[in-house]
Structures are given as structure tokens and as C-alpha cells.
């Protein structure tokens, strides 16, 4: 594990973050946007674990933050999918451009 410097792991997680960002900006389907958000959350988790492992190996704080982020991501995905199913019932489409009832 030592031959890899910390910055390489950070570059990988930054690349994953911006891949998720690209998906969030270009996709207009709600489920695929949710997938992009999951990629972004995962890149943050990689950062927390890598910082914990390389800079503070005598503590466990990064592990706890990762665990809490995973729990919140699961709750967020469940609520998002409930909203998506409700939206599909009302508009018969999950494209964000079609849900323009509250657009001014």
C-alpha cells in the first residue's frame, strides 16, 4: 500500500466526482441523475477512507464518517425513488423537463 502516494487516490476520487457531475449535468432522466449522485457520494467516501488511512492511521474518524454517509445515501435513495414513483404516477414520465407544473 505504501508505494502509492495519497495524491493518486485523491486524483482518482476527483475524477469519479467529476464523472458523476457530468452525468448530473447532462442527464435529464431522474433515475440516471440519482445514479450520478451515488457516484459523487462514493467519491467522497474514497476520500474519507484514504485520508484516514494515510494521515491519521491511529484514529477511526474517517471510517465513521464513511459509515454515516453510506447510511444517509441509502435513506436518500429510498426517498428519491418514492418521489420518482409518485412523479411517474402523476406525469407518466420521469423526465425532469416534463415536470414543469410549478415552473414560472
Amino acid at each position: 500500500m505504501s508505494p502509492i502516494p495519497l495524491s493518486h487516490i485523491l486524483v482518482v476520487s476527483a475524477a469519479l466526482f467529476f464523472i458523476g457531475m457530468y452525468g448530473l449535468l447532462t442527464r435529464r432522466n431522474m433515475i440516471t441523475m440519482l445514479m450520478a449522485v451515488e457516484l459523487i457520494l462514493n467519491s467522497v467516501n474514497i476520500n474519507f477512507v484514504a485520508f484516514n488511512k494515510y494521515l491519521y492511521p491511529d484514529k477511526l474518524e474517517g471510517v465513521f464518517f464513511t459509515l454515516f454517509i453510506i447510511a444517509i445515501a441509502a435513506a436518500e435513495a429510498a426517498v428519491a425513488i418514492a418521489i420518482i414513483i409518485n412523479l411517474y404516477r402523476n406525469f407518466h414520465s420521469i423526465d425532469v423537463e416534463d415536470a414543469d407544473e410549478m415552473k414560472f
Partner: protein, 174 residues
């Protein structure tokens, strides 16, 4: 290059390639399957970092829970066999520009900053399940019992909220 470095680069290439396919694939079901591979690769990265418990949680919660939930909702809301519409050209060009600029900026900042060079660290703590559980439920200074309880309330609230949002109301029902 040692074997561990080779494994790291293969894992990162796998994660990034499958992640890129997950956000660019035009078929939504394939996109979900690529996301599954990407999340599994991230679990492999945690194994490589010797965080076995995090890797197990990643596989159980993300691969076993969230991706299955996403696939379920694809089946509920999507007509099968229809491709997603291609993104608007102007939007995708500007998204690529913005994303590349952000990535280059982040890489420059990572290169400039020396992470903990010359820092002396103590002996590594054992990141076993027993240690993590003991610290998570301890009420002493570095214990995490209060966030743990807050998360449990949040999960309960999310569960109730999902049922309330997705429940089917009969027509004419108040």
C-alpha cells in the same frame, strides 16, 4: 512497480471506466449494471486499503440495496427497449468543459499541497469490526453514540416518509 501498485491502477481504471459508461450509456438498464460494477470496484479499493468492514458495508448497502432499488424503479417506470434521448449538444459541450476545468483545477491543487509530509504518526489502530463497534457505541470523548442514535431516527423518518410519499390515495379520498 510492485504488485500492490499494479492492483491499485487496475482497480482505479476499472472504477473510472465503468463509472463513465454508467453516466453515458443510452440504455438505462445497462447504465444501472455499469453502476453496479463501479460500486463493486470501489469495494475492491476499500479492500486494497485494508478497510474490510467498509468494503463489506459497501457491498451490502450499495450493491445489494441501492442498485437493486434502482433496478426495481427502472422496471416500474420505464418502457422496456426504449433508448434514452441523447443530451442536447450545447449542454453536453458546456458540461464537458466545466467538468474538465474543475478536474484540472482539483488536480493542480492536490499537486500543490503536501499532504502531511514529515508528520509523525502513531501506530496504526486496528480497524476491525470489534474496534469500530466499541468506539461507535461508546459514550466517552471519542464515542459516536449520539450520531448513531440520530442516524437511527433519520432512517425511521425516511422509512415513514417513503411510505407516505408513495402511498396510493383512492380518488375521492380526503
Amino acid at each position: 512497480m510492485s504488485a500492490s501498485a499494479v492492483i491499485f491502477y487496475i482497480l482505479s481504471f476499472f472504477i473510472l471506466a465503468t463509472g463513465l459508461l454508467a453516466v453515458t450509456s443510452r440504455k438505462i438498464f445497462r447504465s444501472a449494471i455499469w453502476l453496479l460494477f463501479s460500486l463493486t470496484g470501489i469495494a475492491g479499493l476499500y479492500f486494497w486499503l485494508q478497510m474490510e468492514f467498509i468494503a463489506a458495508v459497501q457491498i451490502v448497502v450499495y450493491v445489494g440495496g441501492i442498485v437493486v432499488l434502482i433496478i426495481f424503479s427502472i422496471f416500474l417506470t420505464q418502457q422496456t427497449g426504449k433508448d434514452l434521448p441523447a443530451p442536447v449538444r450545447v449542454r453536453s459541450i458546456f458540461s464537458v468543459l466545466a467538468v474538465c476545468a474543475g478536474f484540472v483545477l482539483t488536480c493542480l491543487m492536490v499537486r500543490q499541497y503536501a499532504f502531511g509530509v514529515g508528520r509523525t504518526v502513531g501506530a496504526g489502530v486496528d480497524a476491525s469490526v470489534g474496534n469500530i463497534g466499541a468506539q461507535m457505541l461508546s459514550t466517552t470523548e471519542h464515542g459516536y453514540v449520539l450520531p448513531f442514535e440520530a442516524i437511527s431516527i433519520l432512517l425511521l423518518a425516511a422509512m415513514v416518509g417513503c411510505i407516505v410519499i408513495a402511498i396510493k390515495t383512492k380518488p375521492g379520498d380526503k
